[in-house]
Structure formats: structure tokens, C-alpha cells
Symmetry: C2
Subunit: 204 residues, 2 copies
Amino acid sequence: MKRSLLLIVSISVLVGSIIGIGKGQEGKSRAPEFTSDNRLVRPKDYREWIYVSSGLGMTYGPAARAQQDSPPLFDNVFVEPSAFRCFLQTGQWPDKTIFVLEVRSSSTQRSINKGGNFQDALVAVEAEVKDEARFSEKWAYFSFGENGPLRDTASALSKEACYSCHYANGAVENTFTQFYPTLLLIANTKGTLNPGYKPNSSSD
Amino acid sequence: MKRSLLLIVSISVLVGSIIGIGKGQEGKSRAPEFTSDNRLVRPKDYREWIYVSSGLGMTYGPAARAQQDSPPLFDNVFVEPSAFRCFLQTGQWPDKTIFVLEVRSSSTQRSINKGGNFQDALVAVEAEVKDEARFSEKWAYFSFGENGPLRDTASALSKEACYSCHYANGAVENTFTQFYPTLLLIANTKGTLNPGYKPNSSSD
């Protein structure tokens, strides 16, 4: 009987370890983290999230506006994996969705490349969060810095900085899904484009 | 004693299920799949792999060369997650590494965007594989089609199509890590740049 008990305990430990591994693998799907004074903690592993799309020299976003006389900037958008999986099913963004917008400089001349643009130094990291309990307007926007060391946390930007334009022009809720080809396809299929979204005009 | 046995069997089933879940989660980290006649099976989930970088209008790659008189094309590069994790540790690509190059058209005018470029329709999907047992030169290159329905499988392209240029100009083994800023940083730190790699010149 003691031997059976020992075996049961061993198996339980094994089960615990395996559940632990499972949690580790799921650890990348998680809600945005906030400090006690409501500042968003910069996600460190966003480059291992789901890639959404990129643009070059697009004319929205604070970092892009600051660089009008410089070589064009790339922006890369990533979304936290569990929110992405929910969007695949529903065409909508669940509560606690978090996007990261990474801005990078562009270069042209290197090695075999003599034309066009490839990505280079990190310029800025921004985030967009949906948190219905924390923000009265559901969505909030954050900047962790530009052209220098990034901050580890950031407070929500004013409505005018990002929210108003996202609210007026987002194709799906507040998100610029009109620039994310794979997600736009899903939103079209699921019928979740905002009723006021117009591909051929913009609202301030 | 029978009760203990039943408990052990139940726990074993539970262990089996959890191991199964674990394998499911690891299912996205896997070796390239080939048919019996040595054709690479197109990975269906590459957009959930690790994003490497993007370029716009870059002057290498068969799809880019075919489009010289059209609006510039975006290319997005993804790498299979287990190869990425190995590269993080070693700065080198393990056997069975697989990259996917996705080519997309670019657009400018939509909604609030009036300048710069965002990504649009899928144009082509290509792959780069390291398989030391299968290919005498270790690395091989594949195209699943351009400007039309993608093929489900593809045979390795001739040496002249991709391999020769990758071999002569790749910064890390055959890969164009010189255009992947986060990976270039790792290769520099680990000292794994090819001895012959020159950032300021190219070899045919």
C-alpha cells in the first residue's frame, strides 16, 4: 500500500510538472499588466506575439508625424496571441486585447540591396489596449518613448493624441484593421466592420 | 488495492491527456514536411510563426524582380519558432530550420492614410529550408507560386535561382540576416557572422 501511495505521489508530481510546462507555454497569452498607479507595463516579448502587418512612411501615429523630413519609418504591428485567436473566431476584439506598434528606421544601401527599404534601428514602441473596466472609453493608447531608451511603463495618452482618430476612423472598433490585410479579410467575412467605416474617406 | 490501481490508471490517463495538450501547443514548432518525391509542403500557419522583418521594394528575390514596373512589393519574413529559439541561444540556424518569405502588394490611399505604403493582397509565398541530410548544400529554396492560387507543394529551385546568391551574400550561413535587425544584433553578440560577409559590397 505504501508503494502504491508513493507511486501516486510520484505521478501527482509529474502531473504538476506537466501542468507547469503547459502554463509556461500559455504564458505568452496574457492580459496587459498595469502598475498600482494605472501605468501600462511595456510587454517585453511582443516580437513573439502574432504579427499583424507593417507599413512604411504611413501618415498616422505620433512617431511618424515627428519624422516628416527624415527617411520614412517602418511600423510593425503585433497583437497578443489569445486576442488574435478570439478575433479569428468572432471578428471582434475581446476585453484585455493588447496591440504593440513598433517603429523602426529604414535603410536602403547594404550588401546586395541597392534599392527599396529594409528595417533598421528601433525608434519607438507604442501600445493600444482594450480594458473595459479600467478605461471609460474602453480603449487607451500608450507611448514608451521615441529615439532613446524606452520607458518600462507609460500612462494613457490624452484622448486627442490617439483615441479620437482611432475612434473616428478604425475599421473594427478602434483598430486600424483597414491596414491589416489578413484581419480585414476576417472582419469582412464575419461582418464586423464598423457601420461608419468608409475606406475612401477619413474623419477627424 | 483495486481502488489504488484504478486511481493510478485514472492519473495515467490524465497524464496522457496533459502530455497530449503539451504536444498540441508544441505542434507549431516542427520540422519542414516533405512529400515522398521530395517536395516541400507549404506551411499553412507561417503567419503564427516568429516574425523576422519586412522590406519594401527590395531588389532581391524572384517575385521582386518580376515586378520592376509595378508599385513596390512588401516582403515579410517568418521563421519557425523552435529554430528561432535555437538562434537566440547560439546565433546559428539548427538543422530543419524553415523560413517563409511572404510577398504582398502595397497600397497608399485608404481611409486616413494619404502617404506612404501599407500592405495589401498576397502575391507570393517562398521558403528557405536547412536540411543537411536531404540537400547536399544543406540549404534549399522553394516557390509556391506568384500572382495566383498557391501550390500546396514545391520542389527545390535550381542553385542559380536563389542558393548561389544566398551562399555568396548571406550574413549568417545562407540567410540574409543583414536585413533582420533583431537577429543581426544576436549574430553580432554571438560572433556568428560569416567571415566573408561584407555589409558594403555584394558578390554574385
